[in-house]
Symmetry: C2
Subunit: 181 residues, 2 copies
C-alpha cells in the first residue's frame, strides 16, 4: 500500500519546493523564468513577515524515508466581487504521480482549508495551451474570467518597474499632493 | 490651490470605499457583481487577520472637511517567477478627478511602498475593452501576460465551490492519503 501525506510546508522543505517549482516552470514552457532560490522562499514564506504559504504532497516509503512529489503555493487576498480570497500561485505534481487524483486532492485540501477560514473565492492562472488542466477546471465549475469577462492579467517587473518607482511627480503644479503611506 | 492627500485607509473609511467600489464595478460593466459591504471590509481588512490593505485619495477643502475621491485595494503575495509581489485588486478615481494624474500618483505611491518593502513584481487585472487604462499600462512598461504568455485568470466561487469542498475523496482506494493542513 502506497502512502502519501498532504501537510503544511516547513522551512526545511524550501530546497525541494524550488526543485519542483523549476519543473513546473519548464512544464509551462518558461524554463528560464523562475529566478527563485530556496533562500527567497525561506525569507518570504517563513520569515517575520510571510507573504505566502505552501502545502506539500509527500510520498512515504516503508523504510521511514520520504520524498516531496508535489506542492501548492498560495496566499490570501480579497476580491472586490466576492470577498476573502485564496490565490493559487502554483499547483504541481511530479509527472510520474499524475493521473491518480493526487493533484486534485492537494487542491481540495487547500481549498477546503481556505473555505473553512471564510474564503468566498479561489483564484488561479493557467496558460492557454494547457488544455488538460483547463478541461479539469471547467469540469469542476471554475470560471475562466479571461474568456467570460475579457479580463487580462498584467505584470510590472524589472527595469521598467524601477524606472517608474524613481519618478518624482505625476500631477500638475497647481495642485498640492501629500502622501502618507 | 486644491489639496489632496494619499494615505492608508482606516476602518472608518469603509463606507466610502464601498461607495467607490460599486462605482468601479459599474464602470467596468459589472454593476451587479460587487456584493461587498462595509462590514466585509472592516472584518477582512481591519480585523485580527487582515487579508488586504487599502490606500485612499482624499480631497481636502478649505473649511477643514474632506472627501474620498479614489482608492486602491491591494495585498501582498508571491510570484514564482519574480518573488515577493503586490497585487492591485482595485484602483479607482472618481470621474471628475480623472485626467489630472491623481490615479497614476496613487498607483505610484502604493508601488513605491511595495518596492521599498522588497516587492519585485506588481500584478493587476484589466478588462479588455478598457483601452484607455490598457494604453497607459503599456506606456508604463507593464506586460500583459494574457497577450504575451497566453495566461488566463480563473475564478472558483459560489455553489460550485461549495460542492467541490464537500466532496470526500479524489484518489483510488489502493492508496492511503492523510492530510494535515
Amino acid at each position: 500500500m502506497v502512502s502519501y501525506i498532504i501537510r503544511s510546508g516547513r522551512v526545511d522543505d524550501c530546497e525541494d519546493v524550488v526543485r519542483l517549482m523549476q519543473k513546473l516552470s519548464a512544464h509551462e514552457g518558461f524554463a528560464d523564468q523562475s529566478k527563485i532560490s530556496a533562500e527567497d522562499l525561506r525569507r518570504d514564506g517563513f520569515g517575520p513577515d510571510p507573504v505566502f504559504q505552501c502545502a506539500v504532497l509527500e510520498k512515504l516509503f516503508g523504510d521511514g524515508t520520504s520524498e516531496l512529489v508535489g506542492y501548492a503555493l498560495y496566499f490570501y487576498g480579497f476580491c472586490s466581487w466576492n470577498g476573502k480570497m485564496l490565490y493559487f500561485e502554483d499547483l504541481f505534481v511530479e509527472r510520474e504521480y499524475r493521473g491518480m487524483g493526487l493533484g486534485v486532492a492537494l487542491m481540495h485540501k487547500v481549498i477546503k482549508m481556505a473555505v473553512d477560514r471564510g474564503c468566498k473565492c479561489i483564484q488561479a492562472c493557467v496558460v492557454e495551451w494547457n488544455t488538460e488542466v483547463r478541461q479539469l477546471y471547467r469540469h469542476l465549475g471554475i470560471e475562466d474570467l479571461t474568456e467570460t469577462k475579457k479580463y487580462h492579467i498584467l505584470s510590472f517587473t524589472g527595469e521598467k518597474l524601477d524606472k517608474f518607482v524613481k519618478k518624482e511627480s505625476f500631477i500638475s503644479k497647481d495642485m498640492i499632493l501629500k502622501a502618507d503611506l
